[in-house]
């Protein structure tokens, strides 16, 4: 098992490195002279050159890359070109906000999705199954901002049960913050629900049709126990593996949702960085997102290997 995890870890690091190169390359293609963008059209060429030199953008590309990466690894994410402050001072709190939002969304969708998928599988072919499957299917492809708008209109403006703003007033308690986060999380959750439910359903059906389930029933074990002990245990394993990959979607959805709700999250930050051609913020921000994603994958891998006996016992004679 340790070997499996070690391999995955190395893989994640390699992926991160490749990604950093890609991100850096793309950011470099951003048009315009950096110094000129910052100082504006009326500054003298000399001051532009001076700023460029100060920022280090007149050095060869690979030197810039190396410098960026080495500083990044030490925790220095660079200085924002737009705001002239360390990138991390802006990204840090933004990341925290996004994680809160993502966490609420996750807590909403994972249990619902799994339960929905399992019920659909247990009632395969019947009404409950069709309803859950079709609603999951339909919700999944609706862009978050669309469902968010509908939610805002329904819960925020017509029923008036939830606040339209995602950001709670400063100093608000935990529950209040939660309340403010509900609308945006629901929008995010709706997209993921269908996917998770479908995976859970497929996994459960496979387990229900398996030979070992037949063996269990034929031993005279109660249905409830068979489902719990034999079916669910095996069906949820692939589902867990899949859930982690959904963090990618989650983060993507964050950008859109944060813009709609004007929420200070990392998605919003990166978005404005792209618009403002603030490439230090952009490349570091994107890399931070990648780190979050890959960490989520690693955690999922750890969980998976703990739960899957084949991997857990690999290496043991």
């Amino acid at each position: 098992m340790a070997r499996f995890l070690f391999k995955r870890f190395i893989l994640a690091v390699v992926t991160l490195l490749i990604l950093s190169v890609i991100v850096f390359a793309v950011a470099q293609v951003l048009p315009g002279n950096v110094g000129r963008n910052v100082l504006g059209g009326f500054a003298t060429q000399q001051s532009v050159n001076q700023l460029n030199h100060q920022l280090g953008v007149d050095r060869p590309v690979y030197v810039q890359y190396a410098s960026w990466i080495s500083k990044f690894v030490q925790g220095n994410l660079g200085t924002s070109l737009e705001y002239r402050v360390p990138v991390w001072s802006l990204l840090g709190p933004a990341l925290l906000n996004s994680l809160k939002l993502a966490a609420v969304a996750f807590l909403l969708v994972v249990p619902l999705g799994i339960v929905g998928g399992v019920i659909a599988a247990l009632r395969r072919g019947r009404l409950a199954d069709r309803v859950i499957t079709l609603s999951g299917l339909s919700l999944t492809a609706i862009p978050e901002f669309v469902s968010a708008i509908v939610l805002i209109l329904v819960f925020g403006l017509w029923l008036r049960v939830l606040p339209v703003d995602a950001t709670a007033p400063p100093g608000a308690g935990f529950l209040t913050q939660l309340r403010y986060l509900l609308l945006p999380s629901m929008a995010l959750a709706m997209v993921l629900f269908g996917y998770i439910a479908r995976m859970a359903r497929a996994g459960t059906i496979e387990a229900l049709d398996a030979d070992y389930t037949r063996t269990a029933y034929l031993k005279g074990i109660r249905t409830r126990t068979v489902i719990r002990r034999h079916v669910l245990r095996n069906s949820l394993l692939p589902t867990i593996a899949v859930i982690a990959t959904q963090t990618g979607y989650l983060i993507g959805g964050l950008v859109v949702i944060e813009k709609l709700f004007n929420y200070n999250g990392i998605g919003q930050r990166i978005y404005t960085a792209a618009q403002n051609k603030d490439f230090t913020m952009l490349q570091s921000g994107v890399l931070v997102i990648a780190i979050v994603y890959l960490s989520a994958m690693l955690i999922a891998d750890i969980l998976y290997s703990l739960l899957n006996p084949r991997i857990r016992t690999a290496g043991a004679a």
Binding site: A210, D211, Y212, R214, T215, A216, Y217, L218, K219, G220, I221, R222, R229, H230, R233, N234, L237, L307, N308, P309, R310, T313, A314
Partner: protein
């Protein structure tokens, strides 16, 4: 406690249907059978006859689209079909057990073996700790030496044979009145199968459990059962004591089935195999009053209009045929004698020669020596049979010969020229070596029509296009007895036998010199097997083509092979003429293999039990790789030194430290006592 019921299983007039695409298709038609307490009843039939359905219905576990349309089933006196859910559950927990194919898959991969075996007891109210103890005892009862270790394992860590023992242990732990076995040894190696069957026979005798044994293999049923029922297209056509049915079959189908099996050391030059004309009916197909009438040579108008009653033929022996007295006189479908001579001349150079070929694969970082220095030769027009169990390397050898696998050392020669890997072979060489795979379903592209498949083969292998190709296509189809109307269809609309004919036609499209036959009949039903074997022999005589014939079925190999090579863990253990290898003196492994195989001519031979499981090719034993299981091991020399492949006499090579004269003496006098418990 009341006295146990007299019958373990009573099925009366059972009709079962499956709902396929909106229509009800009949799978079992009015089946009636009874298994008495402590009796072993065998249910035999080919694919689609409904035997598994009968088993599943008996425990009321039909698939979602199946249902019992009419009839009744009683297990140990209790009605199964009308039982409440709780009653059914109790029945499954206390009275009836089922063991089926693929034992590793029958176990939950996420739970330890111990927990699963203990479940059998926990369901009856036993406390956790005691249940585990009794699980331990249950495993010991099936002769698992290190029960404690096995209990702590997960199913994926068990071998097939071990897993089946565990499943049997679970099944018998509750001391059931009825044990249902559905093809329990299909898929297991011959030596492992022999052990499992012996285990079942022993346990049955000890516990006096009634057994319903389902199999397609008449020989196994003969060994294990007292009575047998023959199923065809969902109907029981004959039933009676095993010996009576086998010696005096009274239904044309039974007669045909028995005749299909190559027996008593039959060889191809002694005559063709019998086969049953026509095709096995698809599930739910519309059939005449007597379900077998379409394929029966004794059929007369009354057979299509009136369903035959179950006529009594002998003591508890009955047959569902209007003409059961004449069943034994069923005319043969094939002329017994062969037209052409099949003499193979070995005076010239061999067609194909492999010299010290080794192949190593890497699995999970460990090198696996699939082949470790194999040398062999095949002469033009001869059939070299290749036998061996799993891990023996026979498929790897075939693939290496064909160029699909690159050997790590050694050479392959065709007509004296060395052959490189497939990608570098000349067009001529590619044409000369072809293959017929085991599974025709997988070997034919299901999106291409038969015509397209064959025309492409003719183009690439035979360099034929246009009108010439069309001509040859028709000739090829005629040669393999494939009716023209099948050319336009896609393979998935054809039966297994027809698909295999297409595959054979494809292999012969370019007039090959050698065709590798990799278990070509293993996936086919018995009645179809015979026809395909006849076809292969006929083609060989006509085209003067050599075969490398791989099979685990020794009866088939004996029938078709001129010479036989025996592989074990990637090494050649014995090679020689078929008669010599079979009759002896032969290698101890060959000896054990032959004794393990259940043949329909049955009894007399002492079963030699090989201890242990087949070792993994990743960690082969030291010295002679067979020494860990060899019943004639000489001790130190066998453990330390690998014997050379040495000439025993003309053309017969043996890899054994025991000199051939000694082997002859030992084997004539019968083998030593069988080895005891099974180690891991």
């Amino acid at each position: 406690m009341s006295s146990p019921p007299a019958t373990a299983l009573e099925i009366a007039d059972l009709d079962v249907v499956y709902r396929v695409r909106g229509l009800d298709r009949e799978v079992l038609r009015g089946v009636t059978l009874t298994v008495g307490a402590g009796e072993a009843y065998g249910l035999v039939g080919e694919s689609g006859c409904g035997k598994s359905t009968a088993a599943l219905a008996s425990v009321r576990y039909l698939p979602r689209n199946g249902r019992v349309r009419s009839g009744s089933i009683r297990v140990a006196g209790q009605d199964v079909l009308s039982a409440s859910r709780e009653q059914l559950r109790r029945l499954r927990a206390d009275t009836v057990s089922m063991v089926y194919q693929n034992p590793v898959e029958a176990l939950n991969p996420g739970l330890r073996v111990g927990q699963q075996v203990a479940e059998v007891f926990r369901v009856r109210g036993v406390r956790r700790r005691e249940a585990l103890e009794r699980a331990h005892d249950a495993l010991a009862r099936v002769q698992i030496a290190d029960a404690g270790l096995v209990l702590s394992r997960y199913p994926h860590q068990l071998s097939g044979g071990m897993a089946q023992r565990v499943v049997i242990a679970m099944a018998l732990a509750k001391d059931p009145a009825l044990l249902i076995l559905d093809e329990p040894t299909t898929g297991l190696d011959a030596t492992v199968e022999a052990e499992v069957l012996e285990l079942i026979a022993g346990l049955k005798a000890d516990l006096n459990t009634a057994v319903l044994f389902i199999s397609h293999n008449l020989a196994v049923i003969q060994r294990m059962c007292e009575r047998v029922g023959v199923l065809y297209a969902g109907r029981l056509v004959e039933e009676g004591p095993v010996e009576a049915v086998l010696s005096d079959p009274s239904h044309p189908y039974t007669v045909g089935l028995i005749r299909c099996i190559p027996r008593g050391g039959a060889r191809k030059d002694q005559g063709r195999l019998e086969s049953i004309p026509g095709f096995l009916p698809a599930i739910g197909e519309d059939l005449p009053a007597c379900v077998f009438a379409d394929r029966c040579a004794l059929a007369e108008p009354i057979c299509t209009s009136q369903e035959p009653a179950f006529h009594r033929v002998g003591d508890r022996h009955a047959s569902r045929c209007h003409f059961h007295q004449r069943a034994g006189e069923l005319p043969r479908t094939t002329a017994p004698a062969r037209e052409r001579s099949l003499e193979v001349s070995r005076t010239g150079d061999p067609l194909v020669r492999v010299e010290d070929v080794a192949a190593v694969f890497h699995e999970r970082g460990q090198p696996v020596h699939a082949l470790a220095g194999v040398s062999a030769a095949i002469w033009p027009g001869e059939t070299l049979g290749l036998v061996g169990e799993s891990g023996s390397g026979k498929t790897t050898l075939a693939r290496t010969l064909l160029g699909l696998v690159e050997p790590t050392r050694g050479s392959i020669e065709l007509d004296g020229r060395a052959l490189p890997a497939l990608a570098h072979r000349s067009h001529e060489d590619v044409r000369r070596l072809q293959i017929v795979f085991q599974n025709p379903e997988s070997a034919l592209n299901r999106r291409h029509s038969v015509r397209r498949i064959l025309l492409r083969a003719l183009r690439k292998l035979g360099d034929l296009v246009g009108a010439l190709a069309e001509e040859r296509l028709l000739a090829l189809a005629a040669q393999v007895r494939l009716a023209e109307r099948y050319l336009a269809v896609r393979p998935n609309q054809l039966s297994g036998g027809l698909k295999q004919r297409v595959a054979i036609a494809r292999a012969f499209a370019g007039s090959p010199r050698l065709v590798v036959c990799d278990e070509p009949t293993s996936a086919l039903d018995v009645s179809v097997q015979a026809a395909i074997l006849n076809l292969l022999v006929e083609l060989q005589a006509k085209e003067q083509v050599a075969y490398l014939f791989i099979s685990h079925d020794l009866g088939v190999v004996r029938y078709i092979a001129d010479r036989i090579a025996v592989l074990y863990l990637g090494r050649l253990m014995e090679v020689g003429h078929a008669d010599r290898v079979f009759d002896g003196p032969h290698h101890p492994y060959t000896e054990a293999l032959l004794s393990a195989v259940t043949t329909i001519d049955g009894g007399g031979r002492d079963r030699i039990s090989l201890g242990g499981e087949i070792p993994s090719a990743a960690t082969p034993p030291t010295g002679c790789v067979f020494h860990t299981r060899c019943h004639r091991s000489l001790g130190a020399i066998c453990e330390e030194q690998e014997p050379e492949l040495s000439q025993a006499d003309d053309g017969h090579l043996l890899r054994c430290h025991i000199p051939v004269e000694e082997l002859q003496r030992l084997q004539r006098n019968g083998g030593p006592a069988p080895v005891g418990q099974t180690a891991l």
